[in-house]
């Protein structure tokens, strides 16, 4: 499935704040639903894995469902799970969650024009459902009339499938043999590699920073903890992006 929508109306990046739903919002929502199919497969698989892993770790079903319903971030949920113990180390959980979800801040920064175009009533929901797939697909979509509608068209099935798959995963605890469970866990990296591929193919951004960040990430692996290593790699990528953009136009980096 190609990620980009083929809707041919002009790009308007969302409806006017607080106004009626524009004609293009529903068609953009449907385009988002269609384009989210591939990524929804990932949400389904990892929802199952999370529900299963959390149940094996001893969480009750309401606790597992609460995590998926209110957190909706696989990496944060798995990070919390790894620290799950009778005397919960709240500070360690907070630091770990903040580190692994730092990319959501960057995605929020990148999606700000789309989120800001949403009605005030919808904006909190838009912020809550920011996720990897919605970020990359929304940035790729060049010809949708409402990027906000498109964003929700991707996020709605992702969220629904994530919660439902978690519930099913609770009943599948212990179903997978260790070899299968371990390989499915690694499949998460395969999914993320497709996301990186989507960035390379379709996002309007310089590509060398991705290579730099990947190389710095590899170099720092085992030297720093995962969270700080990612932050350093992103900083290196950011500096590279600035250098590439400055070299491209050769003038003031402040656009105007």
């Amino acid at each position: 499935m190609r990620a980009n929508s083929n809707i041919t109306s002009p790009v308007a990046d969302g409806s006017p704040s607080g106004g009626p739903v524009p004609d293009g919002a529903m068609s953009s929502f449907m385009a988002g639903l269609r384009d989210s199919l591939g990524m929804s497969f990932g949400a389904l698989l990892f929802g199952l894995l999370f529900g299963s892993a959390a149940t094996v770790a001893g969480l009750s079903m309401p606790q597992v469902i609460s995590m998926s319903t209110f957190i909706f971030a696989g990496t944060a949920q798995f990070a919390t799970l790894t620290l799950w113990q009778p005397d919960m180390p709240l500070f360690a959980v907070a630091v770990s969650v903040a580190m692994v979800t730092s990319r959501l801040t960057l995605m929020g920064l990148s999606l700000a024009p789309t989120i800001r175009s949403m009605s005030p009533w919808v904006k909190p929901a838009g912020i809550f459902v920011i996720n990897d797939a919605a970020w990359v697909l929304t940035l790729q979509a060049r010809n949708v009339s409402s990027k906000a509608g498109y964003f929700f068209g991707i996020s709605a099935p992702m969220y629904t499938l994530w919660v439902l798959a978690t519930v099913v995963g609770v009943f599948m605890a212990g179903f997978f043999d260790p070899v299968t469970a371990k390989s499915l866990a690694f499949a998460g990296i395969v999914f993320l590699s497709v996301l990186v591929g989507m960035v390379v193919r379709g996002v309007d951004a310089p590509k060398p920073p991705l290579v730099v960040a990947a190389l710095v990430g590899i170099a720092l692996d085992g030297v720093l903890a995962t969270g700080p290593a990612i932050l350093v790699a992103v900083a290196a990528g950011g500096i590279t992006a600035l250098a590439v953009e400055m070299a491209r136009d050769g003038d003031d980096p402040d656009d105007q």
Binding site: G108, G197, A214
Partner: protein
């Protein structure tokens, strides 16, 4: 199947869950708030757009390198094929299939001797 491991008390478990939920929401909102302080133009937006991709690349590359040879093969083939075809579902299914086959092959569960 549930664990026999000792569990936190219910109030502490829910406190942890809602603290994590609030923190993740704050991380998401921080990006939107941070955008208010940026002079956004095409060039700034391109730089900002590159950053989440850098985070993803910094997660994927070292994690892939830590995998088994078949894991690395699965990531390399899936990534390359996606760049070539742009077909999301096909590449996702292929990637998972390669991971499963590779792991079971290395575990000796397939009727082909592993060479790694």
């Amino acid at each position: 199947m549930t664990s026999e491991m000792a569990q936190p008390e219910a109030w502490l478990a829910y406190l942890t869950i809602f603290m994590a939920a609030g923190l993740v929401l704050a991380m998401r909102a921080a990006g939107i708030l941070g955008a208010h302080f940026l002079r956004t133009g095409p060039r700034t937006q391109r730089i900002v757009n590159a950053l989440p991709g850098c985070a993803l690349a910094a997660i994927v590359a070292p994690a892939a390198m830590r995998g088994t040879p078949t894991d690395i093969f699965a990531v390399a083939v899936t990534f390359s094929l996606y760049l070539w075809t742009g077909r999301t579902i096909f590449c996702m299914i292929l990637g998972v299939t390669l991971c499963l086959l590779g792991a079971h092959w290395q575990a000796g569960n397939l009727p082909i001797d592993p060479i790694f």
